[in-house]
Symmetry: C2
Subunit: 532 residues, 2 copies
């Protein structure tokens, strides 16, 4: 079968070995669309890995200015091609063209690439530390090995393996990327890869800086993830897939930064509900169903007091959910996963308040609201924290503050935890207690905002304790922390200056903020101080 | 059998469950010394873990000033008790009382504790980042879970599980420590634990901030390492033991920071040898046999050109090794491990130049020098990188620069790599090529110094690529990086100020260096800017 070529070592190459082929589907209709793409075999994986390994040291030695220029040229290329990209992504994901794809996600992606360019240029992520008395100098450096990035289904641009946050972070640290696109949007990924390649050529980076495979059998993916030539892994996706990759990488001493799953508990405190319950019901419904609820930070569990204001909130929310037509999901896989997990939730005692059914044509499911009382939640905390990826949320009804706290203590690691509080202090005591309970359980603690907004900011943490991610220091968004995942700590002990990387040289020609003898400064090193 | 009590939850408690008992040995004689200590069972492990888990949140909420006071009180306690500590450690390890234990290692240990106190007090390791426009604030925070620290045999003070670098780092980040002492120096560890407990009481920290077990069967150790209540692990020791612990922790999503093994290649360039070969032979011998060679950073492989200056160096080094009496090792285990690994090296083609034999009484082995030519090294690179922990080094003889480079490329991950070069530039071209080859393979690149000196400095990296450690960003020495291993990334998104940790509050009452809107500063937050 004729399949689209792979991007390997700077060229579009026909697959050497075809394990299988697949086509994208329009999830709104279920019809196959676009050309066939290869499920790659070991020969193509080896070609990509060996080319990336050869490119790693030259890329690490490339001036950051040139890497920044690549990221900016790529961002410009994406903008110039926006219309075609949005059309492809819309066809493959059914996400709305406007505002989501054209006005939110695409600009977010180019913004992220430009933030990475800025970070690359500033050397800020390298955090140089100099001890003049001992003549020791340390910094964060490129891994000098390729990073394997596996993208998720839910952001065809902003988390795409060849354009998203992990990609930009790995490249900013001057590591080549072997991208494994998500097979639900291959044409979008292919087009991004073409633009990436054009930018690689324009800026003269090593040809294998950016490569792309479309699909691998899981066993081959795990083999690749455990190859000692791989420097690190960035993954966003399902818990089962991510943990299998992580296990393979762990066994080979390769850091795997995996973002897995999260139900993002939202606590509605009594004062907030009394004050603005109807508005909160609207806000919650909008957040839970935006993008058909297919967000890592979807508000999947909402804790609601069993008082009158809580009842009113539930009634209002139920009305929103009940009035909605089924939403299109990304794929048959997402739909089946959702149905399976709804079954688990209901078997564990969750009652259906609205929705619950699949729809047609294509892969659709009704926005679905479930409810359970806290007693039952605390009896089956594992099953009732099952993530039903899609426009689904489970309400947990609590009788009092003690029950609210007990529920908070039952949560496993999550990306986010949210507290809605009264404007004028009525909920403060409860909020303080909940903050203490939630803080060790979530990466981002949120006040009076729904968790679905993930700002691209240095102060963002899009990570959280296991099992929401694989590492408590992980973030996929927010530089320099996201970049530092893909670095090695390097120390120079009494090394001659001409052998030092530029940001560690006496004169500080890059103008980098450095910690010299305990003080952060932009100063050159005082040679007198050093040699006295 | 009566055994010494365990330190659990602020009290010295008799073991509830005794799997076995053991005594220390004087390695210089092989005689058992001191009282019997318990090999603990599951009941005591559970008691320690559950006490530590309850202490974690209170400790995280303790003002850093009090944690710093604890670290300083402990350091003072160690100094006041130095004579007794040194005597115990000398009896259990046979390390020289002076200068090693009394004048080097003990002061290093108290210095490290005080550095940790300084870091705790300054909040520097928390690296606050604030985005005023988005009202997002992030920092590194305590794990809110205990850290399990397992100490090695070779530093009874400076890497002791209850006093060393991992301990100080975990405590500075306000995490409780469950220390697993090394069973070759239990009385030293017990005395340190008594001092630590006194400092805990003096400064009013939670009672279970510091606990100690002496010995566990490996299977129970792995069960503990995979308990989800454990926040992270710090381990220094053998590759086999460390990898087993890491595998257990990995499977539970617990970060295991393991320092494993390293042969620390030292490259003697032709110009350096021609200039000062005899001095280098002395320097090498001293470094290789100091502490009976029982250093993670021992120069285990030395690359020497096959020219006249290289031959002269080898002859001089051989004389030093041949003239030496056998050195006392830490234990029967270390001796047997050394003998086993010497057999592996010799079976792979290494020729014996000097030493090779065990000695008596106790656990002794002659300083041992081996040699192999580069052709053979490149034929058997794995076997010839076997770490023979002890006063042993393997010379690799290279015919030319190309062979030197090929050998450099054959090294797996190491803690250090060293280049000795001529004073006036004669070796510069070779040094540049070797630097490129070694840089991705070592944590610390050293110029014209032996690797055994590991300064306690913020710019130190005592880590390196796998398999020398388990993570490319790992360092066991050098704060704040060593502390940051034991932290979680926490973000506050639109959270009310009274719920924020002190270093993220508007007024910056702690006077912490923070990155606000991209600029590092000590300023309070301008509320006008925030709310405009």
């Amino acid at each position: 079968m004729a399949t689209q070529p792979l991007l390997i070592d700077g060229e579009w190459r026909a697959a050497r070995e075809l394990i299988n082929a697949f086509r994208a589907e329009n999830p709104a209709t279920g019809e196959a669309i676009g050309p066939a793409y290869p499920v790659s075999g070991a020969a193509d994986v080896e070609a990509a890995l060996s080319a990336a390994s050869l490119a790693a040291s030259p890329l690490a030695a490339t001036p950051p200015e040139r890497v920044a220029a690549f990221l900016e040229a790529y961002a410009a290329g994406i903008e110039a091609d926006a219309e075609a990209l949005v059309e492809l992504a819309h066809a493959e994901t059914a996400l709305p063209t406007q505002p989501r794809l054209a006005n939110v996600e695409l600009p977010r992606t180019t913004h992220q690439l430009r933030q990475a360019a800025k970070a690359a240029r500033s050397y800020g992520w390298t955090q140089p530390v100099i001890d003049t008395a001992a003549n020791l100098r340390a910094h964060r450096a490129p891994l000098c090995k390729p990073v394997l990035v596996l993208g998720p289904n839910n952001f065809p641009f902003a988390f795409n393996a060849i354009a998203g946050s992990d990609f930009a972070s790995a490249i900013a640290a001057r590591n080549p990327v072997i991208a494994k696109a998500h097979p639900s949007h291959p044409a979008t990924s292919e087009r991004l890869a073409q633009l990436a390649l054009a930018a690689v050529r324009e800026t003269g980076l090593p040809a294998a800086t950016v490569q792309m495979l479309y699909h691998l059998d899981p066993s081959l993916g795990e083999r690749l993830a455990s190859d000692p030539r791989v420097g690190a892994i960035g993954f966003t996706g399902s818990r089962a897939g991510g943990l299998a990759l992580k296990a393979a990488a762990d066994a080979a001493g390769i850091p795997a930064y995996v973002e897995l799953s999260s139900v993002n508990p939202v606590f509605l405190l009594p004062g907030a509900l009394a004050e603005r319950g109807a508005a909160l019901a609207q806000e919650f419904y909008t957040s839970c169903t935006m993008g058909s609820g297919q967000f890592c930070t979807n508000p999947g569990v909402v804790i609601v007091p069993s008082d009158a204001a809580g009842d009113a909130f539930v009634a209002a929310a139920r009305e929103h959910f009940a009035a909605a037509a089924p939403h299109v999901l990304f794929s048959r896989g997402v739909l089946e996963h959702l149905q399976r997990n709804l079954t688990i939730l209901r078997a564990a005692g969750a009652q259906l308040l609205a929705g619950g059914d699949a729809g047609a044509p294509g892969y659709r499911h009704a926005p679905t609201l479930l409810s359970v009382d806290a007693t039952q939640f605390l009896r089956e905390p594992r099953a009732l924290q099952t993530e039903a990826f899609g426009p689904v949320s489970l309400l947990v009804r609590v009788r009092d503050q003690a029950e609210m706290l007990a529920v908070a203590h039952a949560f496993e690691g999550n990306l986010t935890g949210t507290l809605y509080t009264a404007s004028h202090g009525a909920d403060d005591a409860t909020a303080t207690a909940l903050t203490q309970a939630l803080r060790p359980r979530v990466g981002r603690l949120i006040g009076n905002r729904m968790p679905t907004g993930v700002a691209v900011s240095p102060a963002m943490n899009h990570g959280g304790p296991y099992p929401s991610t694989g590492h408590p220091g992980f973030t996929a968004v927010g530089m320099p922390a996201a970049i530092q995942r893909f670095t090695a700590l390097h120390c120079y002990d009494n090394v001659a200056e001409h052998l030092l990387p530029v940001e560690l040289r006496d004169a500080n020609p890059g103008g980098v903020a450095r910690c010299i003898d305990g003080v952060w400064c932009l100063d050159p090193l005082d040679k007198q101080a050093l040699h006295s």
